[in-house]
Amino acid sequence: MNDNDNDTNNNNETNNNNSISRRKFLNNLGFGVAGTIAGGVAATTVIGLTTTSENKTTTITMPESGHMSQTLLIMAKDIYPHEIIENKYYQKIVDDLAIQETKLIGEGVAMLDQLSIEKLGKPFIKVGYEPDRVRILRSIEENAFFIKIRTALMFGLYDNKDLYHLFGYQGSSWDKGGYINRGLNDLDWLDE
């Protein structure tokens, strides 16, 4: 699915044309989210991530892809830090997004580095102290670039069947007969 064209078109355009598809309609309202993320489109509206941040369109040199990938990994792990999750899961989420949203993500990483250099004198990946990185990220949390990454991570990490078990969540249960005969009431650490 290619949503790249929507980033330049997420304004309040009025749609009263019946031929406009539902997805296009939603995307034009600024709900566009990478298609590989299950549930992403409307889910962003649930968690309030629909702020249509103004992206500056000044010319920015696109970062080299290795640097971009490393930056996004560090950023991802600062957004939802989990020792229990291997890096490869974070990496895949952000790399996939970088392919789908080349311009937004590329410009976003360049912007992040610029901010980091201004404030701490070095690019983001060279900032070794987590609270320093988090402070920078907090300052851009309403930016479309940050929201896109965060939303992708929220679905990629917490709506991911391969990772459920790390949290003690068991996912789908109807196919196993529910819990009626499978630990429904096994809490044994509280005295009556």
């Binding site: 009626i180 429904l184 509280l190």
Partner: protein, 527 residues
């Protein structure tokens, strides 16, 4: 389902029902059982049980009403849920696909909030034109229809889960009143539907149909009579009327995008508390410039959800809240009207499971909901338990549904703007509930507590309220418009107060009562 009944667009003798959820679906079946013919126009598609999956976000995407809506006013939704003020469904069965199944009756005093507490500054509190006694026999019929567990039908309560056990013990330790929730979920096979297997995911739709939903109860039963036609994918645009001010038909867009006019003898509006007033406002005409049925100016006003929020605790050992029904039990000690607490009306605390996906979104909604605090909480998922606060939200005139002046939806209709600001009473009540929950959870060794703000409203009420006098509300005690005699409101928008409990049982009881009234009017040619 073989649905062969088709009615003609020019058939002037039909009841046209807009919406197929708890209100519309029930009215359709009740009318059909009494020999009254109807067409149900449903904006959403038709799902089967095969469409239902055990995945929160997948089902949210599949079932939710996602046409554009705008949140405005002082509530946090204006920022954090800017386009999702309400979490309700679009499909045959409406939000009865999504509801958790909690089936509590209103308390008698909740029908007369004005005489109970007098006028309240900044609120538009009123008594219902009916009493608990008037509705009581219909509550019994609704409970029987829906198979509500416990005393109502003599069927057993659903079995205890660990999530319930923790709350029961905590309530015992803190002297709070605890109960298994009366649920419209079969605890034994009943009405051709199986018993609950404690699957969880109740609000993603019940995979096996153990939970009552018009999707697979009222709707197919109505169709089986040959007296009811369901038209899915049919978005209603406008209700038409004649020069005498009687509704004559309904304009809608069919599944192929063609505009149609279905003639009607009677129109029942049951599109939930945002779409129903929106449709009346969009049906403005020369004769009714402020919207259909709106001589009182109350259409769209008094929008109520519940005073709500969530409280999740982290405990020293596993709770596994995801095992079993989504709302297994309730705490009712704070339900009564006790103004000495610093607020009027009351609230219940409903034990509520959120899955990992939803918890990651709702634990700290908004743009700042990331970082170590969130990820550490989620790593404790297994050891978490939680409740949802369900308190009476006072009617306030300025909390309302209006039409956006310029923005249009995919059908060319102005999008609805949902403006809501908490009344001071709401704030005090919510804080009272947070404090009670802290005490409750500490008694069972909670190591950490999270107070969650309100979720998008699944309970939407009050925007076409009932009233004795035409100047005070939109419909009379039968849900019949004061202005347009053959126009009825059949959903929760006719509520006068929101109560401390979930609205569905009351919507169904009102729908049964209304259908009985309509059938009488039709048979005596009074309408």
């Amino acid at each position: 389902m073989t649905n062969i009944t088709k009615f003609d667009l020019d058939d002037e003798d039909l009841v046209v029902i807009i919406g197929s959820g708890a209100g519309g679906g029930t009215v359709a079946n009740e009318l059909a059982q009494k020999g009254v013919r109807s067409v149900v126009l449903e904006a959403g598609k038709r799902f089967t049980l095969a469409d239902i999956k055990n995945n929160e976000w997948e089902m949210f995407m599949k079932l939710s009403w996602l046409d554009k809506r705008i949140s405005a006013g002082g509530w946090h939704h204006a920022k954090n849920h800017a386009n999702l003020p309400a979490w309700i469904c679009k499909g045959v069965g409406g939000s009865s696909i999504h509801w958790a199944g909690v089936s509590l009756r209103f308390k008698p005093h909740e029908f007369k909030m004005k005489s109970t507490n007098g006028a309240i500054e900044g609120a538009n509190v009123a008594d219902w034109p009916i009493t608990y006694g008037d509705l009581s026999p219909y509550y019994a019929k609704a409970e029987d229809k829906m198979g509500v567990t416990g005393e109502a039908t003599g069927t057993p309560d659903l079995p205890e889960s660990s999530h319930t056990k923790l709350h029961r013990i905590a309530a015992e330790r803190t002297g709070m009143t605890f109960a298994n929730a009366p649920m419209a979920i079969n605890s034994v096979p009943r009405d051709g539907r199986p018993a609950c297997q404690q699957i969880g995911f109740c609000m993603a739709g019940c995979v096996i149909g153990a939970k009552w939903s018009t999707m697979y109860t009222e709707i197919p039963k109505a169709e089986a009579t040959g007296l009811c036609e369901i038209r899915p994918n049919s978005m209603v645009l406008k209700i038409e009327h004649d020069e005498n001010g009687r509704a004559t038909g309904v304009r809608y867009v069919d599944e192929n995008g063609n505009k149609k006019l279905q003639k009607a003898r009677i129109v029942c509006v049951a599109g939930n508390s945002i779409e129903s007033p929106r449709l009346l406002l969009n049906s403005a005409s020369k004769k009714f410039p402020d919207g259909l049925a709106n001589s009182s100016g109350q259409v769209g006003r008094n929008y109520m959800g519940h005073v709500t929020g969530g409280v999740y605790g982290v405990f020293p050992k596993p709770v596994n809240m995801h095992r079993g029904t989504s709302v297994p039990s309730i705490i009712t000690s704070e339900q009564l009207n006790k103004p000495n607490r610093g607020f009027v009306a009351g609230y219940t605390l409903e034990v509520l499971t959120l899955g990992l996906g939803f918890l990651s979104a709702f634990l700290k909604p908004g743009t700042s909901g990331w970082g170590r605090e969130v990820s550490e909480a989620l790593e404790n998922y297994k050891n978490m338990a939680g409740v949802w606060i369900c308190g009476e939200d006072l009617a306030v005139e300025s909390n309302r549904i209006t039409l956006h002046p310029t923005e249009k939806d995919q059908h060319g209709l102005p999008v609805p703007v949902i403006t809501k600001t908490d009344h001071n009473n709401d704030l005090i009540m919510r804080n009272h509930a947070y404090a009670k929950m802290a005490k409750l959870y500490k008694s069972v060794h909670a190591v950490k507590l999270y107070n969650l703000p309100a979720y998008p409203n699944s309970h939407n009420m009050g925007t076409n309220r009932m009233s004795e006098k035409p100047s005070d509300g939109v419909v009379n005690k039968w849900g019949q418009s004061h202005d347009v005699p053959n126009l009825f409101i059949s959903d929760g928008s006719q509520f006068v107060s929101s109560s401390s409990v979930n609205p569905t049982l009351t919507i169904v009881a009102l729908a049964i009562r209304q259908a009985e009234h309509i059938a009488k009017l039709v048979k005596t040619n009074a309408l």
